[in-house]
Amino acid sequence: MSESIGPMPTQPRMHRLIAEDGTLEGGIPEGLGEADLLEIHRLLHLSRAFDDQAFKLVRQGRISFYAGSRGHEGAQVGSGYALEAHDWVFPSPHRELGVHFAKGATPFEKMSHYFGRATDPTQGRQMPNHFGSRKLNIVPPSTAVGTRIPHAAGVGFAARSKGDPTVGVAYFGDGATSMGEFHIGLNFAAVFRSQTVFFCINNLWAISVPLDRQMGVPTIAERAAAYGFPGVLVDGNDPLATYEVMKTALDRARSGGGPTLIEAKVVRLCAHTSFDDESRYRDAAEAEEGERKDSLVRFRAFLEKQGLWDAAKEAELAATVRRQIDEATAEAEAAPLPAPETLHRHVFYEGPEGD
């Protein structure tokens, strides 16, 4: 009888280009020049500094809530850097900071969002982290994780049927893969060969629930086989590798090759959100161990090994980013709240407003 039991797929190999110590193991992805590498580095810094600032603002009671992206930046920035302006992003409701920045969000827009100001691209409608922007083709998420996954499949179908190069991209966490919407979104995309990329940032936790209580298989990438398209596993702390797999998947989608599921493995280097006390469920050693793999450390080492970077440049970048964020904070905090009478607007369509 045993021969009729379907073979278990072997786990996909993890894609990586930069070793933990910064050594280049593979080639630099095609199309990435020196300026791109430095820009990726800048985006990593910008995200991290913004993250630090936002946590501080919560502690100070100046913003109400924050979900950190610390530890996720390598996957966010690397993959986000591969996106074209016309690609549509469906971020998870609570992370993807680095994707927002890679897509072109300014610190001021982001800060306005956290302060819920009228200058937020969605004018303070959404709770913190639920960033969206029409201009940037970032669709404001709803809070329920995973629920936007099939939307990316629908956008990818619509773009294909109109002959547009646009790819619909859904970002989500490991926990979101347990939602029915994950299955449905991937299945629809497969059947319709949608121009879609499913990008899962697997940080091994859904708040306090570890991966092995979330699913019965060790990787998310291997689940793509159930839909008939490729599943790719990538080191999410390696911005070049995440760039490369995302670029490949986008090209594949644009050229009619159908969807791809990417799993970027990272370590969550923060509590789930500012509301969360992770000591209740998580061993501190995991995060400590994770710090060693931090994409910022790795990418800086990589740039230095490539002769593109040094301590002085690092200090200058840090200062610049710091200043930008301080300015954005001050400006956003000073910006007006949405006017009370706007409460009733846009329940039904009134034409676009905002950015």
Binding site: W88, P121, T122, Q123, R125, Q126, H130, G132, S133, R134, V139, P140, S142, T143, A144, T147, R148, P150, H151, A152, A153, G154, V155, G156, F157, A158, A159, S161, K162, T166, G168, G180, E181, I184, G185, N187, F188, V191, F192, R345, H346, V347, F348, Y349, E350, G351, P352, E353, G354, D355
Partner: protein
């Protein structure tokens, strides 16, 4: 002018809209190859191709969500939910995603899509082929909802729904699909959403109905006349947003209102209508607003005849109102 039944009117409206605007796309289970289990999209796949009228995998959630993605991107999806009893499967998508998109994005993203679905009882469908789930969307800002009662309105309202920039749930009573026939012009006419239809003028009492209950009210007219009751019949047509001015004007005129719907009474649309009437016109009411509805049970199979609002139950309520 050609005569059509309700499902032919649906088909005609879809056909005209698909010809008018290449962004209009029909999707759902059995919608493509077979042309719909009720034939609403018959022949569309041959005529418009696989990208404009197609079968989906079996998931109502997926139909709505995939359709929402399409709508966000600029298509005008008309998503079919094969039976309204399955719309609950897509509830979060409709409630928290489709309906709220314009609001959460201050109008920068929006979902012009129609969710069509056969609803209603009296067809021996049991618990999940009979429901009239309009009330479950009543507390959901951002949704419009339409329920036509005849072929002419069906075509005009469906065309409006497709052209509307907001998401519209469009329930079609499956008991009426082939039971009601009427003249339907082939020209391009629309009926605005939000306007009730005066079915019959009257001065003594107002019957507020929609869907198959319009017929029921009409069937009751002879017996009402026998009783000397000159009833005004209002076909609500659009449930969200409903036509408050017409309701209030009629209530003011007659002073007595009976609302009839198939869904269970508690928490049904009738409650909201009644509340609004009482709120805004209590002094004009000569009797309490009465409701004749499905009972507060799930929809039964063998006993559906007992369950459904009937002319008798309608007359009882009218008598009670008149006698008040």
């Amino acid at each position: 002018m050609p005569k059509m039944n309700m499902v032919e009117a649906v088909h005609q409206a879809l056909l005209e809209e698909m010809e008018r605007d290449e962004n209009v796309v029909c999707l759902g289970e059995d919608v493509g190859r077979a042309g719909g289990v009720f034939h609403a999209t018959k022949g569309f796949q041959d005529r418009f191709g696989e990208n404009r009228s197609f079968d989906t995998p079996l998931s109502e959630l997926g139909i709505v969500a995939f359709g929402m993605g399409m709508a966000l991107y600029g298509l005008r999806p008309v998503a079919e939910i094969q039976f309204a009893d399955f719309i609950h499967l897509a509830y979060d998508q409709i409630y928290n995603n489709v309906a709220h998109m314009s609001y959460r994005s201050v109008g920068t993203y929006h979902c012009p899509m129609v969710i069509r679905s056969p609803h209603g009882g009296g067809v021996r469908g049991g618990l999940e082929h009979s429901q009239s789930p309009e009330a479950i969307f009543l507390n959901c800002p951002g949704i419009k909802m339409v329920i036509p009662s005849n072929p002419y309105d069906t075509k005009g309202l469906l065309k409006s729904a497709i052209r509307d920039e907001d998401p519209v749930i469009f329930f079609e009573h499956k008991g009426l699909y082939r039971a009601v026939t009427g003249e339907v012009p082939l020209d391009d006419y629309t009926i605005p959403l939000g306007e009730a239809r005066l079915v019959k003028e009257g001065k003594d009492l107002t019957l507020v109905v929609w869907g198959a209950m319009v017929q029921l009210a009409e069937r009751a007219v002879p017996q009402l006349e026998e009783r000397g009751v000159d009833a005004e019949i209002i076909d609500l047509r659009t449930i969200l947003p409903f036509d408050k001015p017409t309701l209030l004007a009629s209530a003011e005129k007659t002073g007595r209102v009976v609302i009839v719907h198939e869904a269970p009474k508690t928490g049904g649309v009738g409650g909201e209508l009644s509340a609004v009437l009482a709120e805004e016109a209590i002094d004009l009411l000569e009797a309490p607003v009465m409701r004749v509805c499905g009972y507060d049970t799930p929809f039964p199979y063998s006993l559906e005849g007992t369950y459904m609002p009937s002319v008798e139950r309608l007359l009882e309520a009218v008598d009670a109102s008149m006698a008040y």
